[in-house]
Symmetry: C2
Subunit: 256 residues, 2 copies
Amino acid sequence: VIIYGRNPVKEALRGRRAATVEDVWATAGAAREAWLTNPFGVGARVEGLPDVAGLRVASAREIENRCGSPDHQGVCARIGSYPYAPPDELLAREGVIIALDQVQDPQNLGSICRTAECAGAAGLVIPERRAAEVTPAACKASAGAVEHLRVARVRNLADFLAEARAAGFWCYGASALGDPEGRTPVSYDAPTYDGGVVLVLGSEGRGLRPRVAAACDELVALPLRGHVRSLGVGAAAGALLYEILQRREAALDKAP
Amino acid sequence: VIIYGRNPVKEALRGRRAATVEDVWATAGAAREAWLTNPFGVGARVEGLPDVAGLRVASAREIENRCGSPDHQGVCARIGSYPYAPPDELLAREGVIIALDQVQDPQNLGSICRTAECAGAAGLVIPERRAAEVTPAACKASAGAVEHLRVARVRNLADFLAEARAAGFWCYGASALGDPEGRTPVSYDAPTYDGGVVLVLGSEGRGLRPRVAAACDELVALPLRGHVRSLGVGAAAGALLYEILQRREAALDKAP
């Protein structure tokens, strides 16, 4: 695949699929910049990586034709397809996992991946069908975060939540409205969020599907103090993930 | 102007420029829905508003031609230009104000307006130049929140911050990196955020301009626990505004 944009290419040269970078094209201006000509710092060299100093200079139009987007910022790269992680790998240690229920917009997927990576999440899970995948557009929206974050695809999200619970994780479903079985969400700042945590976020507009909500241990809601009845999924991810990070780090500070 | 999309039109019929709605076009399907044929509930009627029951049915293609976007969801409306609020009005009471320093993307502006409205902010301030305005695309991205939130435009953001400080507001600049004068940001969960608060968020990629950072009382930073060195401005707004809301409401609960 062809990824594009400064941060996506920069992080790809350091990330989980760095060894699969085949070619890099950059405009004359971008090709002079240090992060591209010497991405690993003075004298550094990483085994198995192409010699990025030998990158090819191309016009902005050639780059746009190669990547199919005007948002390339003067650089694109040919790289192996996205290396999805096995779902089991995410459950191997007690971290924070984000599960997205049918988020369809690659921009939303990418920006949530960026937030998850910044907040130190262990990984992110998406369903195989009817959901945005880690396309080059999602890579761009993530500012390259997908090159470091583990993203896994699962056939059935409710089944994955059951496996996570069996592995000792606690599953929190973000839901302003409660689920169809009439469970009431608690305020998002009530749980302690310790141990293994899965945070489940619903699709734009429709929220969690009933089976997915039912597979959660607890529903959490952000307060709404205005007229609009729901937050965007990207903003909700920011508010919830930083609350979870804050709680977990405060608990670590208190631990003996 | 022509606004488009279900939530934008729905909120426009109840919001600050409701009296300026002139025409509504909807597809046959959308025109049958209760929120559009009787937007104020059974028997209700609002003085000065057009009779929305007399809306015009149009094809999806006609609606797309009128609004110039495929994202219309079957409905668009002709409405007065966006009623920016006078900046003084935002400073009249001790609320939370968001100030955006040169955010250029209407999608980001819209989604931050949505978060601000949901978190109960008193208003949002944008510079007159080199910044996204409240266009119909921003209205759509805000899910109609701009119809309720007060948005003000100022000639100079640093001057506005000085006025806000003179009026007793405390200005917090969101900055992961500190400002050029070498001030170090405190962690975002350190301040109490009581009284009048202005939260200043920088542009995508470049952060706060030096003059704007210098006009802040204090810089605050969200922790970054991954490889990517900055959050998206929409996710940062979500994390910071909900932290501020949580602190303020906790203080109210404790007050005698």
